[in-house]
Symmetry: C2
Subunit: 275 residues, 2 copies
């Protein structure tokens, strides 16, 4: 099972409960070694103050969530999204985040052609290489669940993320975030994790509830669902990834309604018994 | 756009409205050339009476929905599921259905190992070959959306369906049902449809709503969502499939609340303008 020294808690797990300042203090209080930060909370606190509090806390920052959404068929919309990615790169650099989570953006009714939408994302990703390289920030391409294809991500498989990395030829800039929840169903997942190898720069865990009410906001605590998380952890480790394992639970129906300190305690327990 | 002579209406589209007898009469009244039948409605009417009404109606039966769910880690449960498949094969033969929709069954908490679960399904499918061959019934392996992996189907991609067909070596018995709604997000879909070729024995259409409330029961009418249905139809036709195109809409929020005759009229209109 997973060693607690590798735990990172993604802020979304206690998103409704705590400000970023409270989250930092809570993580320190519970001796959580690393956190991943949600940008809306970062903007509330302010980048300089957040960087100051984190550097004094001893916490590692495994990730900054998220930026991207650059798939629009409208060039002006895409330009605004690319500006946001550049701002997020600067934030990730200031926070010394190990990676910046990148979501491709969706297909939409104005252009239902998925191949063309994916080609646009790839072309625009290439334009970000100088910015990310200059800031020494790793862009973590995160495949989302296929249910997000019309809302946040045409990047629906780890295979496609590997294909994009092959095409981009910038292994120092682009990595891949493996989220167990969004990829566990994929018949190719073990093979594509092995292929990703050193590209893997983040590993997210939560569980798929057999009676899930919503594929986005009803994620389960590790051990409460059907994902073989220890197997996925072993595949990711065999591929060479030894970094933080991030617990990322969107849970409108359950965990978001509980006391935040209780949530953190259960996360720490399940991390060691079910991952 | 699609020619109305290729329309088949899946009974689920008007499931809450009509019995099977009403559905048969409604299809004849609207001059729908083919239907696909839901087994719970068939059992209410009785197989012999259903076969009698259909043979007198002039309607073709494009499919019988559904059987399968043979993935259990418990052998006694699996044996009962296989018995149900054999009953469904007899029903499909009596109705002269062009295919019998087969759903693999899910992974469950008793055995979270997906590779092992898939191997069980494949082994058990092989045992059905004599039954299906004897009855001259085509088993249509239908990949469901990845959201169904813990409820109805570990068969989550057309690639895996092709891999299973390769392994089964019984092309007269096994076909593949392509459902646009469950497969449109797949980066490999165009390639795997081409690979499926003559295996394609059913093609189902509906639309993915950008604001979908539920990936199973909130399907959209063709044209109301983001799927490029004409492109998918062309891929399926290029692979060699010229049979019925089945409209299959589960819609708790919208179409299931409307008048059934209105639903059929809209289906016929959209079939010709958005498929």
């Amino acid at each position: 099972m997973a060693d607690i020294s590798r735990l990172s808690v993604n802020q979304v797990t206690v998103l409704p409960h705590w400000t970023l300042a409270q989250f930092i203090a809570g993580a320190v209080r519970h001796r959580v070694p690393a956190i991943s930060i949600w940008r809306e909370k970062l903007h509330e606190l302010g980048l300089a103050e957040a960087a100051r509090q984190i550097s004094g806390s001893g916490l590692a920052v495994s990730g900054l969530c998220f930026t991207g959404l650059i798939s629009s068929p409208d060039d002006a919309e895409a330009a605004r999204a690319l500006d946001d990615v550049r701002r997020a790169i600067d934030e990730a650099a200031a926070l010394n985040a190990q990676s910046l989570i990148f979501l491709s953006g969706a297909v939409d009714a104005r252009d239902k052609n998925l191949a063309r939408t994916r080609a646009r994302v790839l072309d625009r990703l290439a334009t970000l290489i100088p910015d990310a390289r200059g800031a020494k920030v790793k862009l973590a391409l995160e495949p989302l669940h296929p249910t997000a294809c019309a809302t946040r991500s045409v990047l629906t498989t780890v295979k496609l993320a590997n294909d994009w990395c092959d095409a981009l030829h910038a292994e120092d800039v682009f990595g891949i975030a493996i989220d167990a929840y969004t990829t566990w169903w994929d018949p190719e997942i073990e093979k594509e994790i092995a292929r990703a190898g050193k590209r893997i720069c983040a590993f997210h865990v939560s569980d798929w509830l057999a009676d899930t009410q919503d594929p986005r906001l009803d994620r389960g605590m590790m051990g409460d669902g059907v994902i073989d998380l220890p197997a996925m952890r072993r595949w990711v480790e065999a591929a060479g990834y030894k970094g933080p394992i991030e617990v990322e639970i969107f849970s409108e129906r359950n965990w978001w309604k509980r006391d935040a300190d209780e949530v953190i305690r259960v996360v720490m327990d399940r991390f060691q018994s079910a991952v």
